[in-house]
C-alpha cells in the first residue's frame, strides 16, 4: 500500500500559489474548462430535455431512418443515453488535452 499523498481525510495542502504567472495560467485554464462545460451541457440539455421531452411529440411524426422508431420516442429511450456516453468521453478527451496544454496534468501513463 503506497502512502496517501496528500493525506486522506483532510483537505489538500493549502499553500497558496503566489507566482502571478502561474495564477494567470490557472485562471485561463479554468475559463477554458468552463467554456467546454457550457458547450457540452447545452448538448446534454438539447438531446434529453429538448428532443426527448419538449419536442418529442412533433418529432414522433418522423421515424429514425431505416427503423421503426418514432424519432422523439427514440431520443427519450435510446438516443439521449448514447449521447450521454459520447459526451463524457468527449469531455475526457478535451480535458486531458487541456491539462497538458496548461501544464497541470498529473503525469503517468495513459
Amino acid at each position: 500500500m503506497a502512502d496517501a499523498e496528500p493525506p486522506y481525510g483532510s483537505a489538500p495542502k493549502r499553500e497558496s500559489v503566489t507566482d502571478p504567472e502561474t495564477r494567470a495560467r490557472h485562471a485561463e485554464y479554468w475559463r477554458r474548462n468552463i467554456r467546454y462545460l457550457v458547450g457540452l451541457l447545452v448538448v446534454w440539455f438539447v438531446v434529453s430535455f429538448g428532443f426527448g421531452i419538449i419536442l418529442a411529440e412533433p418529432l414522433n411524426a418522423f421515424n429514425l431512418p431505416g427503423t421503426g422508431f418514432p424519432l422523439g420516442f427514440w431520443f427519450a429511450q435510446q438516443g439521449s443515453i448514447y449521447a450521454f456516453v459520447i459526451l463524457i468521453f468527449v469531455y475526457v478527451k478535451l480535458m486531458n488535452g487541456l491539462d497538458v496544454e496548461f501544464g497541470v496534468d498529473e503525469g503517468g501513463e495513459s
Binding site: 486522506y8 419538449i54 421503426g68
Partner: protein
C-alpha cells in the same frame, strides 16, 4: 434439472464467489475501509459504480414500469443516466482532487463549519437509509418467489452476506465484490433479452430489434403496439399521459439526484488520479447504458407478448405460467362480466378490466412467458440478488463512514486512533446492516414510495452545495447551510404532504404548478441554489484558506499520484 434446483445452484455459486472475494480483499486501514486505498483502476471502478448504482429497482422493476408507462417511463431512462454527465463534468474530478473520504468531509471543509458537516451527515444518513430498506426488501422478495423461503428468512440470509463482506472488507471488499456482481447481473439481464429479441424480431441485439419493421405488414413494433393499445383503450404507448412539464421536472430531479447520491459520489474517491475519476464516470455510464438501453426493448417485447397471450383468451386455456404467477398473488383475474374470457383493457375501453398485473412480473416472469430454459430463470434470480446486494452494501458503507469518520473522527472524538476508527467503522457498518434488515422485514408502509424520493432529497440538498462549493468562491457557510436545510425540508414536506399525510389529494389539480411529488426535488434544488446565492451576498466572504482550497481543487496536478494501480 428443475427451475428451483437451477436457482439454488446459481444463487449459491454467486454467493460463494462474493464471500471468496471478501476474504481475499480484507481492509487493513481506514483508507482501505473508506476508499479502497485509493488505488482502484478506472475500469474496475466504473464496473463497481454500475453495480452500486443499479439496484433491485433497475433490475427487477424498471422494464416493467416502462412496459406499463410507455413514453412516460422515459423519465427513469433519461433521469438515471443523464445524471452521470453532471457527475463527470461538475463533481467527480474536483471531489477526487479534494481527496477526502466522504461527502460530508467536503461540505465541512469547504464551508469551514462543523454545522455544515453535521447537516451533511444527517442528509447522507437520511437519503441512504430510505434507499437501503427497499434493497433488503428486494432481496427478501427474490428469495420468497424463487426459493420458496419466507421473506424474513430471505432478508436474514441477505443481511448475513452483506454483513460479511461489508464489515470485513469495507470499501475494498465492496469494490471487488461489486465488479463480480455487475458481471452476474448484466449477464442475467442480457441473456433473456437476447433470446426474446431473436424470437420476436430475428435480431439478436435488443436495441436494434426494437426498431424492427415487420416486412410482411410494413408495421413497426411500435405501430402494432399502439394499434393494440388503441383497440383495448390504453393510451398510445409512444405518447404517454403525463404533462410535458411534469416529465421535465421528474427527469431533472432524477438526474440531479443521481449526481448527488453520496454512495455514487464516494466511488470516485477510490481511483488514483483526477483524470481517472473523469474516465471512470464514462466507463460506469457505458456499463449502465448497456442495461438501460435494453430495458425499453424488454418493455415493448413483454407488453406485446402479454397482450397477445392473454387478451380475450378463455380463462380455462391460459398457459401454465399464468397459474404459477396467480398463485403468488401478483397476477389476478376477476371475471366481472362472466364470459369466461380475459378482458385486459385500459381506462378508455367500454368494458371493465378484469386482469391485474404487478409490474415487477415483467422481468421476473419474462423467461417463463417466453418458454426459455430453466437455467435462464435461475439466472434472473441470481441477477436480481446481485443488483440488490451490491447497492445495499454501497449504501451501508456511506452510513457507517458518516458515523465513524464524519461524526466521531472529525467532530466528536478527533483524538481517536486509526485502529479505534476502524473498529468504530466496522461496528457502525454492522449496526447499519441490522437496522436495514429490520426495515426490510418490517417495512414501514411507505418504504416503497419513499425510495423513489431519495433522489428528490439528494437533488435538493447535496448537489447545489457541492456545485457552488467548487464553481464559486463567494458561497459562504451561512448560504450553504441554509440552502441545504431549506431545500431538503421543502422537498421532504411536499412529498410527505401528498404521499403520507394526504394521499387522497395527490392529483395534478392540487400540485403546485402541476409538478408531482416525484419531480418536486427540482424545485427544491432551485430553492437551495437561490437561498445559498442570496444569503452568501449578505454574509462575510469565506476566509482566505478556503478560497485557496477552491483554487487547488480546480487544477488536477497534485492529487497524489503515488498510488499503484491494482486490479
Amino acid at each position: 434439472m428443475t427451475v428451483q434446483s437451477w436457482t439454488f445452484l446459481l444463487v449459491a455459486a454467486s454467493f460463494a464467489l462474493y464471500i471468496g472475494i471478501a476474504i481475499w480483499q480484507r481492509a487493513g486501514s481506514t483508507q482501505e475501509f473508506y476508499v479502497a486505498g485509493g488505488g482502484v483502476s478506472p475500469l474496475a471502478n466504473g464496473m463497481a459504480t454500475a453495480a452500486d448504482w443499479m439496484s433491485a429497482a433497475s433490475f427487477i422493476s424498471m422494464a416493467g414500469l416502462i412496459s406499463f408507462m410507455g413514453y412516460d417511463g422515459s423519465v427513469y431512462l433519461m433521469g438515471w443516466t443523464g445524471g452521470y454527465v453532471l457527475l463527470a463534468l461538475l463533481l467527480a474530478p474536483y471531489l477526487r482532487k479534494f481527496g477526502a473520504f466522504t461527502v460530508p468531509d467536503f461540505v465541512g471543509d469547504r464551508y469551514y463549519s462543523q454545522t455544515a458537516r453535521i447537516v451533511a451527515v444527517i442528509c447522507a444518513i437520511f437519503v441512504s437509509f430510505t434507499y437501503v430498506a427497499g434493497q433488503m426488501r428486494g432481496v427478501g422478495i427474490v428469495f420468497s418467489r424463487f426459493l420458496e423461503v419466507d421473506i424474513t428468512t430471505g432478508v436474514i440470509i441477505g443481511m448475513a452476506i452483506v454483513f460479511f463482506y461489508a464489515v470485513l472488507g469495507g470499501m475494498k471488499g465492496i469494490t471487488y465484490t461489486q465488479v463480480a456482481q455487475y458481471c452476474v447481473l448484466i449477464f442475467a439481464y442480457m441473456v433473456p433479452a437476447i433470446f426474446l429479441s431473436m424470437m420476436i424480431t430475428g435480431n439478436p441485439i435488443p436495441q436494434m430489434g426494437l426498431g424492427h419493421v415487420d416486412p410482411s405488414t410494413g408495421l413497426s413494433l411500435f405501430e402494432s403496439l399502439n394499434g393494440l393499445h388503441e383497440q383495448l383503450g390504453f393510451a398510445a404507448y409512444t405518447s404517454g399521459t403525463k404533462s410535458t412539464l411534469d416529465v421535465f421536472f421528474i427527469t431533472a430531479a432524477l438526474m440531479v439526484g443521481t449526481a448527488g447520491l453520496p454512495h455514487v459520489i464516494v466511488r470516485f474517491y477510490t481511483v488514483p488520479r483526477v483524470r481517472d475519476a473523469r474516465i471512470s464516470v464514462g466507463w460506469a455510464l457505458i456499463f449502465i447504458a448497456l442495461l438501460y438501453t435494453t430495458a425499453p426493448a424488454i418493455a415493448v417485447f413483454a407488453r406485446t407478448n402479454l397482450i397477445n397471450s392473454v387478451s380475450e383468451t378463455p380463462y380455462s386455456e391460459v398457459p401454465e405460467w399464468f397459474n404459477n404467477w396467480e398463485a403468488t398473488g401478483l397476477l389476478s383475474f376477476d371475471d366481472k362480466n362472466g364470459d369466461g374470457l380475459i378482458q385486459f383493457v385500459g381506462p378508455n375501453a367500454d368494458v371493465e378490466n378484469e386482469l391485474t398485473v404487478d409490474r415487477d412480473i415483467m422481468v421476473l416472469a419474462n423467461p417463463e412467458i417466453s418458454g426459455l430454459p430453466a437455467w435462464v430463470v435461475g439466472l434472473v434470480a441470481a441477477g436480481g440478488l446481485a443488483a440488490a446486494l451490491s447497492t445495499a452494501a454501497g449504501l451501508l458503507l456511506v452510513v457507517s463512514s458518516a458515523i465513524s469518520h464524519d461524526l466521531l473522527k472529525r467532530s466528536l472524538m478527533p483524538e481517536i486512533t486509526e485502529r479505534g476508527e476502524l473498529i468504530a467503522a466496522r461496528v457502525a457498518a454492522g449496526a447499519a446492516v441490522v437496522v436495514a434488515g429490520y426495515l426490510g422485514v418490517n417495512p414501514p408502509g411507505f418504504v416503497a414510495e419513499v425510495v423513489a424520493f431519495a433522489f428528490g432529497l439528494a437533488a435538493s440538498s447535496f448537489f447545489p452545495a457541492i456545485v457552488l462549493g467548487i464553481f464559486t468562491k463567494r458561497t459562504t457557510r451561512e448560504g450553504a447551510i441554509l440552502g441545504m436545510i431549506l431545500g431538503i425540508t421543502f422537498t421532504a414536506a411536499y412529498i410527505s404532504w401528498f404521499k403520507l399525510l394526504h394521499p387522497e389529494l395527490n392529483t395534478a389539480a392540487n400540485w403546485w404548478f402541476g409538478i408531482s411529488p416525484e419531480g418536486i426535488g427540482t424545485l427544491g434544488m432551485l430553492l437551495n441554489f437561490t437561498v445559498a446565492i442570496v444569503v452568501s451576498r449578505f454574509t462575510p466572504e469565506p476566509p482566505a484558506h478556503v478560497q485557496v482550497l477552491v483554487d487547488l481543487i480546480r487544477v488536477p496536478r497534485g492529487a497524489g499520484e503515488a498510488h499503484e494501480i491494482s486490479a
